[in-house]
Every structure is written in structure tokens, then in C-alpha cells.
Symmetry: C2
Subunit: 306 residues, 2 copies
């Protein structure tokens, strides 16, 4: 049962050093372009979600992989300083840590070039202690599929909620992981890839038909169209509009949403309240430059919602 | 007088953490693009030149600025490991270290987005010990003009050769620094900016007329058109064609050229031999991906030239 006082969450997946530049417009071709602003930040889907949970005061651990290099030491040190427990981060000998460069323009369009060493994606030999009930909720992304599959299975066996942040990935990866999760929160393009439905409401229904049979919770996030989830009791889709903000940078908005979702689930909050909190957190994040650096505190979300 | 056994060189200017991605083609618009290869490397004009000198076995110190942050500690550690003396690197409180992201395509075209904190560009209060003859040659770039001006003046007063790596910068910066150098090695676009001459041979003549009066050495590097220099005794321009190679990445080719030029000058080599060595080093570098990572050793240059 979720522990209201100090539930523990495990996030599983990507860890990367992002260099994010804000430009008036994306580079149209060869040349040198001066940015308006720039940050270097430890990120990646699961890691950004974990940092967002820590910012809410949540108790969160990260299961991810780095190489044994400067970049790996740096991202672990940064997330540790943010309050994320990195004791389970795997350091892979001979591998290079992941890094990305991201250009964001004034209307939020992005150019992303990520570097991943395939050696970081090998199946983990050892899992964090999921079977013994150390964690109240686990959340996996689609960037380290062999770990996500093992973790979601272990969570199911332990009776622990297992969230899948189903963002864009190969259909093979999505179809491997979707049946293993108790809670699926898919992005609009990933939901379309799996269901063929471009309308997020219809994609929610289709995902529920495919993966909701064992009572799994199904949701689809659709950016400025808000989020949709399947209400099993009523047999219908519910919708939460996106909160209107002046959008500066949507980078990591989905990760912040998922982090807050996991945090609310771990605390046993009602679904509507979880979705409202997560939507507000994502909206606040979108109003700030710097990827997950813009994730809000709990007080900021509560102020935003009053 | 240059010391043939172990001359000391001081490089002055830029220090940055470059993230360099090699792509089949530059991103044509918003989206995610997977690179063929990628490196993170301590670079910047003067720093890349310094690392190239160290790779030749040269005795080289760097005068540059970092912030007091992870990126600053990392670039200093990396260059120190390469054999560059970083004892004079200035650490600026409250400033952020410089970093850049660079995309390079299959034909060597580049998209560069650099981030510089203006606080790193403040005039230095203290110079390395130039007046006492510690260094046989100083070389400055155009990225930290207030330091370059002081260092070139101090070198002139001490009777020490002062090289200016005159790459593209504001006309104001170029016109401030050019009169202070005993050796000007300008890039083709910078030479054109100063002289109005788009032909590198004519630009060399024009630069010599403007800045060669006190006997300053004048050269212009022009990529695959080779390099040009003014032979004061003969009153004519000499030309060294570029060595033909399969070009993979021209990034930092100019910095490698300047590093080898400074090294040859410090060792008292004849001008023709310096230009030949520097041209060969730049050509080898262009055949390798990864910016200044591709700088050759002395043995590699000698093998290339035999």
C-alpha cells in the first residue's frame, strides 16, 4: 500500500548530459549562431522525472547507466545534489556516458542530436530491491528497454505499481513493455504508433482496449491539447485541458508530468487530482527555459492552482 | 633567443568544452537526428593550439579563463592530462565556463552554437611572467582581446615573438590587435574583413602594407587553397598549396596550424619549414573527425611528409 508519509519511487531508464541552447530561430544551415541562453544539465526521461520528484520533496531513486568517464561522474553528482538517490546507477566499464545537444527556438521547436553508447543498453544483471517492497511505485521509460521489462515484471510480482512512460520508441519496444505496466502514460505520437489513431481521445480508447484488460490505467498526454485517460468505472475517456501559459520551452515537459504522476500515485491521490497536479507542473515547466531545470516545487504547483 | 632544446610557448585566449557530433547531413529543421560519431573535448582556439603543441612534445602553457564550475574543472583536467600547463588559467568567480555544440556533416560543413559568459572576457589583472623571459614565444587568439592586447604588448617589450591568430572577429578587435603582433597569421575571411581583398594572395600583400612595416611577419591561411605569406626580403608573396587529403572534419584545422607554427617559430626553424610542417599538420587533422582531437604527433607529420 502506498505510504502517505514517505513513499519511495524508483525511476528506470535514460541518463544523459544535455546541452540546451535557446536561439531566436533554429540554424537554417551551416554557420555560427549565438544563443540567447544556454544550460548544461543532467537529464534523460527517467532522470528528469526523478529530479522532478525530488523537487516536490519526494523520496526517489534512479536506476540508469553511465560510462566510467567525466560525463558520468558529473550527471550522478548533479542529480545527487538535487536529492535523487543514485546508489543504483550502473557504471559500465569501457562505455561512454550519454550526452545530447539540443537547440530550442523562440516558439519551442527543437533540433536534438543525442549520442548513446549501445553498451549502456545491455540487460542489467542485478535489479534494485523491488521484490522486498523497498519501493511503492516504479516508473520506467522506453530508453533502456531491457531494464524496464525486468523492473516492470518484478514490480508486478511484488504487487507494486509499475508506470510506463510510453514515449516514442520502436513499435517492438513499445509492444514489449506496454503489457507489463499497471499504469501506461503514453505520449500522443507513441499512442498513435501503437494504435494507428491520430486523435488522442480515440487513441486512449484503443490503448485501453489493447492493454487495459487487466485493469491497467491508460492515459495519453497530448501537449497543448491536454491529457486524456480512460475511466474504467464509467467506461469513458476523461480529459484535462492543458493549463494556458506562455510557452518558452516544452523540453522535458513530459518527463515532469510523469514524475509528478508517479509522485501522486505513490501518495495514493485520486486520479483526477494526480492528473491536475501533473498538468499544472508540466505547464509551469513549459513557461521556463532549460528543460527539466524548470520543474516546479510543490508550493509552486499549489500557488499555480489557486 | 629561441631555445632549440626546450623552448616555452604561451597560448592566450579561448577555452571551451566542445560537444562535436558527426552527422550524414546537417539538421534541415526541427527533429531528432542520430549522429555517426560524437566527442566531448576541451577546445577553443588558443587551447586547441596549445594541445596541438603538447602533442608535438612542445613545452606549452595556457592563459585562459573558466568559471568555477564542473565544465571549468573538466577542461583544465583534460588539457593538463594532454600535457598543457594550466597553472595560469584564470578561474572567475560567479562566471560560467564556455561551452559549444557543433554539428559537422559528411562534407565538413558545420553548425556551431557557442555559449560565452561575458565575465570571462574581462581584462586580466595579472599576466603570466612574460617580462622575465619565461616564454620564448607567445600566441594569442581574438577571443579574449583584452588579454591578447596586454600579452602582445608585454611580449614586444620583452623582445619575445608575439603571434596573433587573426581569425574572424569584429573589425575593432582585429584593428586593436594586429599592430601589436610580430607575427600575424590571419584566416582568409579575417584578412578580407581587414583589407577588403577577397583573394588571399592580394589580402596578404594588403595586410603586409598595413601591418608589416616594422618587419612583422604576415601570413594568410586559406583552407584548401593553401597558405600565403609575405617574403619581406624578396618583396613578394609565397604560397604553400594545401596537402591533398580526404577531408572528414576541418574543425580546429586552423588552431592546429597555429600551434605548429608557434612551435616551429619557438624552435627557430626557417619560415618555409614552419609553413610546411603547419600545413601538413592541418591536413592530417582534416582527415580525422573530432576537432583538435585529430592533431598529429611530430612522428605522424614527419611520416606524412616523407
Amino acid at each position: 500500500m502506498p505510504n502517505e508519509t514517505s513513499p519511495r519511487i524508483l525511476c528506470v531508464g535514460a541518463l544523459t548530459l544535455d546541452t540546451i541552447f535557446r536561439l531566436d530561430r533554429l540554424p537554417p544551415g551551416p554557420g555560427k549562431y549565438l544563443p540567447v541562453d544556454a544550460v548544461e544539465i543532467a537529464a534523460g526521461m527517467a532522470s528528469s522525472a526523478a529530479a522532478s520528484i525530488a523537487r516536490l520533496g519526494g523520496n526517489v531513486s534512479l536506476f540508469a547507466s553511465t560510462g566510467q568517464d567525466d560525463t558520468g561522474r558529473r550527471v550522478v553528482a548533479e542529480l545527487t545534489a538535487e536529492g535523487v538517490d543514485c546508489a543504483y546507477v550502473r557504471s559500465v566499464g569501457g562505455a561512454r556516458s550519454a550526452f545530447s545537444s539540443i537547440f530550442v527556438d523562440a516558439i519551442g521547436e527543437r533540433m536534438i542530436v543525442p549520442f548513446y553508447d549501445a553498451a549502456l543498453l545491455s540487460a542489467p544483471d542485478v535489479l534494485p530491491p523491488i521484490a522486498d517492497g523497498t519501493f511503492d511505485v516504479v516508473m520506467t521509460d522506453v530508453r533502456w528497454p531491457l531494464a524496464a521489462a525486468k523492473v516492470l515484471k518484478a514490480a508486478r510480482e511484488a504487487g507494486v505499481d509499475g508506470i510506463l512512460d510510453a514515449d516514442t520508441a520502436s513499435l517492438e519496444t513499445l509492444e514489449m513493455l506496454l503489457p507489463l505496466a499497471s499504469h501506461i502514460v503514453a505520449s500522443e505520437p507513441a499512442a498513435e504508433r501503437v494504435t494507428g489513431e491520430s486523435d488522442p481521445e480515440r487513441a486512449t480508447v484503443a490503448l485501453a482496449a489493447l492493454y487495459g484488460r487487466d485493469g491497467a490505467f491508460i492515459a495519453v498526454t497530448a501537449g497543448d491539447k491536454g491529457c486524456f485517460w480512460y475511466d474504467e468505472l464509467e467506461g469513458e475517456v476523461r480529459h484535462m485541458p492543458a493549463f494556458p501559459v506562455d510557452v518558452v520551452d516544452t523540453l522535458a515537459a513530459g518527463d515532469v508530468f510523469h514524475g509528478v504522476f508517479a509522485w501522486g500515485l505513490a501518495r495514493g491521490y485520486p486520479t483526477y487530482q494526480i492528473m491536475r497536479f501533473a498538468s499544472a507542473a508540466a505547464a509551469i515547466k513549459c513557461s521556463r527555459f532549460g528543460g527539466r531545470r524548470g520543474a516546479p516545487t510543490r508550493a509552486e504547483i499549489e500557488t499555480f492552482l489557486t
